[in-house]
Amino acid sequence: MSPLIVVDSVHLTLRAPTGPVNVLRGVDLAVEAGTSIAIVGPSGSGKSSLLAVIAGLEPATDGRVTVADVDVGALDENGRADWRRQNLGILFQSFHLVPTLTALENVAVPLELAGREDAEERARTGLERVGLGARLGHRPSQLSGGEQQRVALARALVAGPKLILADEPTGNLDGDTARAVADLLFALPREDGATLLLITHDPALAARADRQVRMHDGRVDHTPAAGREAAA
């Protein structure tokens, strides 16, 4: 089976007022389809930036990212937007729901952007999957943090993406709520056959992934010790 994600010598240099900052310094990574992978590492090690590059949100300064045989860096801005809509589901630490839309409308956004006529119906099903069938008409401000993240998860999954990217998805939630969201986060993509790439500081959450990778100073640490450390 060929990998779904291939990250090949990716560099990312960002401009800052104090001069260029080398955020990623030659990252290599391959992720098999249908698996889950947790990326761990200290703050500032480049985890979120790697996620942004894989999602086509930030173009790599050098190197290549291929997702499902598509060279993400070769697409133009509109091409990347279309590709994201068709292939990715993203989950943020701060949920990032559209505050003026209801839970149902928020979940329907990716489908509506794709012009799907059945957007509302599928969004309703998506919310029922995450246990929020009774909160369809609520605005984000009327939902708890855990509920907001479940809406965001339903939104990430609703279009049937091949890849789910999750950036500290339980970072803003308390223990029990975090566990409930994590259960859904691992179960639902598996049901759909989607690949999950997860960034977390939480060792317990990382341990639930099929594989863990440690990042340090803009590089993936491929040493066996790092693998053991990450899995520990």
Binding site: T100, E105, E112
Partner: protein, 839 residues
């Protein structure tokens, strides 16, 4: 927005519009500016169309031929009046009228008409009656104010000169009222028989005689006027065609419309800062949503179109509202009392005026909303992973700046092509542009100073001062908008002070002057005696006076000589002239020499050197005058200093050598210094000399002049008020952002132990400092502007007004702290925890 995701787009647009009350300021700012522009355009169109439609009525005929001093002679009539034309003759002069009991008297603008009056249009009288009937058998109709001034009523006798006439009606409106330029005193109309009975017009009197014509082929009137002028280039009379007879009024309407258009534009530009502020504050609150939508696969163009559509809807709303208001406002002109305007106005919505106002409004929206929209477009979804999606502080790209410059240029071009006075408009736009740029630099400097001051200030003041210095906040546009309004207000006040000081400095020496006109040669000696014997009266000067027209300059017909705009007026009609044996006391010639006192040679003339330069003539050249139909050559012997109209002395353009003109019918004109209380005795003494001798009270003339000045001041104050109102709209537009920031700051400060009182003091200090900076910047701008206006436009020394300076500072403070107080109690009373949890 295309594709099947339209419902999502509209849902987002609609929810944002409904949920963001701050966006209403975009509608308000646009509606305000567009309404003013559309109203000015519609009113201008209505006036110009009326002028076109009622041209003949406004002139009182298809053609008007006006002669000074004496009516057209039989030969002149035979030579110029076309066959088949109906004619109406009128004479106008300034004289006195009084009640029969010898009480108060007043200066009047007397007009004597014949039975044919009016040839066009209608005379409205109160009580209504035909004018012939009112004027028959010693009847008189009087203009507004006369009855009240003399305490008279309809049916009462009115004494004019040697005649006692009967007031039959009040004059509500006369079709040819606008003729004759500046008018002293109310209009009084009599017929020719009554005029003869009054005896006020004698040989050499200061009077005008107008023959109006209704020609069979009215469409051809311009050609007819041109033909008369061509055939009689050196005639003493002036010919006007109805089609071109109101250039003054037309120009006035055009200039007034330009002035008000620029005022509306200044308000719209100031409002534009509010649009930019509201747009920026709205979009910066949406950056997370924009980034989220982008992360979910929305194309950048789609997101930009989404928010552009939002602004478009608001723009459409504001512009439509402005157009409706603008089309309706001119109908208020119909509420003006009948007779106030010299014609009946029929305002109709003008498609051209509405369209140009709408286009200007749309361009203003585009100019001011482009950069915030472009910043939103540049929002990267990757920022969501870094948690800084809501900063949106990336500087505009060169391309975006270029687009804004192009849009602004299009706006300027649109304004220039739709205005009557493009050069004035261009100069004003340039001046406002420079002023705004200078203001920007000044405000930035003041903000930086506030930042530096924060380091030295007591701890309690540090936070508000740092808030003001914060770049990219709402302070800069708010202060700029407010400072523009306060700056204009300063210009109004300081320039007014300059004018007041000038009038004050000039008035005392001649304040009590009275000018007597129409003193016949044989009345000169008795008049001088009457003045000498009157208590408190001092004869300042008495000089011979007649009117004539300059027809040739160095042998070339005056009309064909290229004369600069500044001196054009000197050849346009007849002018008053005098003769003298000696130069005015203390005056030195610029060139040439005054004739000896016993000069008996050929006629010589002294003219101001600047006028001679405009004519392109000098010493020894000959000017030819038409004096009562006779051509008179005079050699230029003296070039005098430029005329000083403000000196209080009689200023004559042409002063002749003696010995020749004395033979022609003429009168004398005298100035007498006398206190108002002593006037009645003098007037009574002069009346005994002859009822034709007419006093003109200088203080009344000055009152009329300062009345005009006050109207101009009110108009300029209106402009400043409009801009200040826009500034307040901008302030209000920024208030939402201020409140959001203050709510957050208040939560943090309370958590750190601040009391409510501390917070109120902190926030009020911030508002007060904003007002002080705006007031100070406005003052600097306004005083600099006033100095430029005083020095260059008025040629007067600048006078500083402490009262206005203090007033503007207090107003700036009052506006910002006043608006700052609104809702402040709610801000500081808010519980801390929910805010910090949401933060």
């Amino acid at each position: 927005m295309s594709g099947a995701n339209r419902p999502l787009a509209w849902r987002l647009v609609w929810r944002d519009l409904v949920g963001s009350p701050n966006l209403a300021w975009i509608v308000v700012a646009l509606a305000f500016g567009v309404a003013t522009l559309a109203a000015v355009g519609t009113a201008r169109q209505a006036v110009l169309e009326t002028l076109e439609r009622d041209a003949a009525a406004l002139l009182g005929g298809d053609l008007a031929i006006t002669a000074p001093s004496a009516p057209l002679t039989a030969e002149e009539r035979a030579a110029v009046l076309p066959a088949g034309a109906r004619t109406s003759d009128a004479a106008t002069t300034t004289t006195l009228a009084r009640a029969i009991d010898g009480g108060d008297q007043t200066t009047i603008a007397l007009k004597a008409v014949d039975d044919a009056w009016p040839l066009y249009g209608a005379v409205l009288l109160d009580p209504p009656m035909p004018p012939n009937e009112a004027l028959r058998d010693g009847g008189v109709v009087v203009g507004a104010g006369l009855l009240e001034r003399l305490g008279l009523a309809i049916g009462d006798p009115l004494v004019i000169g040697a005649a006692t006439l009967t007031i039959r009606a009040e004059l509500v409106s006369e079709p040819d009222r606008n003729r004759g330029g500046f008018q002293i005193g109310p209009r009084v109309v009599v017929d020719q028989d009554s005029l003869a009975a009054t005896g006020v017009i004698q040989e050499g009197s200061v009077a005008r005689f107008t023959t109006r014509l209704a020609v069979p082929d009215a469409a051809n009137r311009d050609a007819l006027a041109a033909a008369i002028l061509r055939d009689h280039p050196e005639a003493r009379f002036r010919v006007q065609s109805a089609s071109t007879a109101q250039p003054g009024l037309r120009d006035l309407v055009g200039r007034l419309a330009t002035f008000l258009t620029l005022a509306a534009l200044a308000a719209l530009a100031t409002g534009g800062l509010g649009i930019a502020l509201a747009t920026r504050s709205h979009l910066s609150g949406k950056l997370r949503t924009i980034a989220t939508l982008r992360a979910l696969g929305a194309r950048p163009g789609w997101v930009t179109r989404l928010y552009a559509a939002q602004l478009g809807i608001l723009g459409l709303l504001g512009i439509s509202l402005g157009m409706v208001l603008g089309a309706a406002l001119p109908y208020l002109l119909l509420l003006l009392p009948a007779g106030l305007l010299p014609f009946a106005l029929a305002p109709e919505p003008s498609a051209a005026a509405l369209a140009s106002a709408a286009a200007i409004g749309a361009l203003v929206l585009a100019v001011f909303a482009w950069l915030p929209l472009a910043a939103a477009r540049r929002t990267s979804p990757a920022d969501l992973f870094r948690g800084d999606a809501d900063t949106g502080a990336s500087p505009p790209t060169g391309r975006d700046r270029l687009v804004v410059v192009a849009l602004a240029a299009a706006l300027v071009v649109l304004v220039l092509v739709t205005t009557d006075a493009p050069w004035i408009a261009l100069a004003t736009i340039g001046a406002v542009g420079v002023a705004t740029a200078l203001l920007g630099i000044l405000v930035a400097g003041l903000q930086r100073s506030a930042g530096s001051l924060a380091r030295l200030a007591p701890p309690r003041l540090r936070l508000p001062l740092r808030e003001i210095a914060r770049p990219g906040g709402e302070t800069t546009p708010t202060v700029m908008a407010l400072a523009l309004g306060l700056g204009l207000l300063t210009v109004v006040g300081q320039t007014g002070r300059v004018l007041d000081a000038e009038i004050g400095a000039r008035l005392p020496e001649r304040l009590f002057s009275t000018v007597f006109i129409d003193i016949q040669p044989d009345q000169r000696a008795p008049f001088v005696t009457a003045v000498d014997t009157a208590t408190g009266a001092e004869l300042v000067e008495i000089v011979p006076y007649m009117r004539a027209r300059l027809v040739k300059i160095a042998g070339v017909t005056a009309r064909d000589v290229a004369i600069g705009e500044d001196a054009d007026w000197t050849v346009e009609g007849d002018r008053g002239l005098t003769w003298s044996t000696a130069p005015p006391a203390g005056e030195r010639p610029v060139a040439g020499a005054w004739w000896p006192e016993d000069h008996t040679g050929p006629l010589q003339v002294a003219i101001p050197a600047d006028i001679a330069a405009a004519y392109g003539v000098g010493i020894g050249d000959v000017l030819t005058f038409n004096v009562l139909g006779r051509m008179v050559d005079a050699e230029i012997a003296v070039l005098r200093p430029a005329l000083d109209w403000g000196s209080g002395s009689l200023a004559f353009l042409f002063v002749f050598s003696p010995g020749f003109l004395e033979a022609a019918p003429h009168s004398h004109i005298a100035t007498v210094d006398i206190a108002p209380d002593d006037r009645p005795a003098l007037i009574a003494a002069v009346r005994a000399v002859g009822s034709n001798v007419t006093p003109i009270f200088v203080d009344e003339t000055i009152a009329a002049f300062t009345g005009v000045l006050d109207k101009i001041r009110t108009a300029v104050a209106f402009v400043a008020g409009l801009t200040l109102a826009s500034g307040i709209v901008v302030l209000a537009a920024g208030l939402n952002a201020v409140r959001a920031r203050q709510r957050y700051a208040s939560a943090i400060l309370k958590a750190l132990g601040a009391r409510r009182g501390d917070l109120v003091r902190t926030f009020l200090t911030e508002h007060a400092a904003t007002g002080t900076i705006a007031g100070f910047a406005g003052l600097v701008l306004g005083i600099a502007g006033s100095m430029v206006i005083a020095q260059w436009a008025l040629g007067l020394p600048f006078v500083f007004s402490v009262a206005w300076t203090a007033g503007v500072l207090v107003l700036g403070l009052a506006i910002t702290t006043g608006t700052g107080l609104l809702g402040l109690a709610r801000v500081v009373a808010q519980p801390v925890q929910p805010l910090l949890r949401a933060g």
